[in-house]
Symmetry: C2
């Protein structure tokens, strides 16, 4: 049986051990074959473990780290000055093969910079990317890059397509995930030269490529995987969050209007909860840093316990499916094909 040890950056995120330790407890219950290492201030973590009734549990242990990366700290500063941060030590454990994955709710930029520095990128991948899941009418959509790479070459976008396809296959078990390239019109004539070139590159692979998609296709779920540069990906992720806030605001305002609507809200709860659940970003918590020699999962900084559990689950699924190895294999095969067709 495959070993599944996951390092948790226990100090990361807005809430630190208050969220990460209870989440670890639930994850141990829900995923029977994992072991966890909590990384951070050991004196504190041992206390919190005890408070959660986890003392003596042989599936969870503590690894000391004396520093914490601040949520607003410059990534370069974290990388150079915080060599004993909980984030860095957790990533080191992946590098040293003492764990098979790590999960952090810490500073995204620092997590990406440190992971790249410590783990290096997979051969054939020039830039790692952040891939997340978004709700869609048809289920969910994988989207990358969500903000690691502001400007991207066509080659970068091609690599994102390969990596996103592998992740959707692994996590969802979709046989041949459909992939779309985000553009501002599905007609061939639209979009920048760089997007057009990326489209040609992706079309030349074995990927189930469906051509250009537009912003509305993300939440409609027209394709399984949407590829974009990190600027556009991040803006559209955040735009969706903003619209979700607007919908919640309108529902709340309308249902609070008078006694009748307040009563309505009460009896409409099952419906409202379904809407809330669909729009709840926690449900989709756990973005994958893809393209690294190792599994790193990023939780939302403000994630609550259940959302953080979800990020641990994603890490577990990636271990089970050897995601980095599969990406490496896919990239090699498309590189061979590129040489073959003379690109």
């Amino acid at each position: 049986m495959k070993q599944k040890i996951i390092a948790i950056d226990a100090m990361g995120g807005d809430h630190g051990p208050v969220v990460t330790v209870p989440a670890a407890k639930i994850a141990l219950d829900q995923i029977p074959d994992i072991q966890l290492i909590l990384v951070g201030d050991s004196a504190l973590l041992i206390q919190v473990l005890a408070m959660n009734g986890l003392e003596g549990n042989t599936r969870i242990s503590v690894q000391h780290a004396s520093e914490v990366v601040g949520m607003d700290e410059a990534p370069a500063h974290a990388l150079k000055k915080k060599k004993d941060s909980s984030m860095r030590v957790a990533i080191n454990l992946v590098k040293e093969e003492k764990v098979q994955a790590c999960v952090s709710a810490g500073n995204t930029g620092a997590l990406m910079a440190t992971s790249k520095f410590v783990l290096k990128t997979i051969k054939g991948i020039s830039r790692p990317a952040i891939c997340g899941m978004l709700p869609a009418i048809t289920g969910q959509t994988y989207m990358l890059d969500l903000g690691a790479n502001i400007e991207c070459t066509p080659q970068n976008l091609l690599e994102f397509a390969v990596m996103g396809s592998v992740l959707a296959q692994s996590v969802e078990g979709i046989d041949n995930p459909s992939v779309g390239l985000l553009n501002i019109g599905s007609e061939e004539m639209k979009g920048s030269d760089s997007i057009k070139e990326a489209s040609q590159l992706i079309a030349a692979t074995n990927i189930n490529y469906r051509g250009f998609v537009e912003g509305d296709d993300i939440y409609k779920g027209t394709v399984n995987v949407v590829v974009a540069d990190g600027f556009v990906g991040n803006v559209s992720l955040k735009t969706g969050e903003g619209l979700a806030s607007l919908v919640k605001h309108v529902l709340q305002t309308e249902f609070k209007r008078n006694l009748f609507t307040k009563l309505l809200a009460l009896i409409s709860l099952p419906v409202l909860n379904a809407v809330k659940k669909t729009l709840d970003p926690g449900q989709y918590n756990g973005a994958s840093l893809l393209g690294l020699n190792g599994i790193v999962v990023k939780s939302h900084g403000g994630a609550d316990t259940n959302s953080f559990v979800n990020a641990i689950k994603i890490a577990s699924i990636e271990i089970e499916n050897d995601v980095p190895q599969r990406i490496s294999h896919e990239v090699e095969s498309y590189l061979a094909k590129m040489v073959e067709v003379g690109l």
Copy 2:
């Protein structure tokens, strides 16, 4: 009193005269000081006018145009080959000062290309932009560019900030509209060099500039005007549309679940209608092509009658507020200031 004659590209959009003529009728009722010229196939239009009881109405007339630009036609083809299209003739009327504005639900690319060619850009504006209104928690947000300019220089973004600010002032009557530049993080360090340079340029003007905003700020309404390049602007516009579809889908599915929820839907109608109204793009129909020597308003291609009326109202407000003249004035003053500070 200011003359307010508006040319309507009566053949444009997915529905043509079926929508534009009834919309014209409502607009004449709701806006007492406008006159309208319907541009398109005169034989057809005279019939539709009669069907709508508008024959003999001295506030509406017909101008013949023998061609129609296709919704998927290449803008360059429309510009070169369709010199007697309803769209082109409507824009010509603006140029010839026979009308003070034109409204079209036709092909966006062709409308922008033709408007630029016929009307030319305002002195000091290098590229016109499309500015639309989006729903926000605080009311509405003006956003530009929504897709006319895929790649933008810092100077272009500065011009968009000036133009968006003038439009929000004119349409909403906001004294000193707040303006934000769309980026992927509000920290100074994030974003491309081009975005950072644009930020410095805008900060040097008299605009009420609030610095960087993120995707979620659009629908939250953090600022009155959000500036972005046309690629990012279009993606985030469409992303919002996609998420709105998802919300509608979930609400419909949940309310159709059983007899009880169907009953709930019935009594929850006022609340549901409020949500629908907030998310209804028609309410915000009428994007302004800014930066041209003349007023051109673009309606959504699929707009229904009431939505098209809204686009006519926007045109009327722009005439009242001399939007092109005000943009010209603002641009001149910031250009003078740039010279002054040696930029």
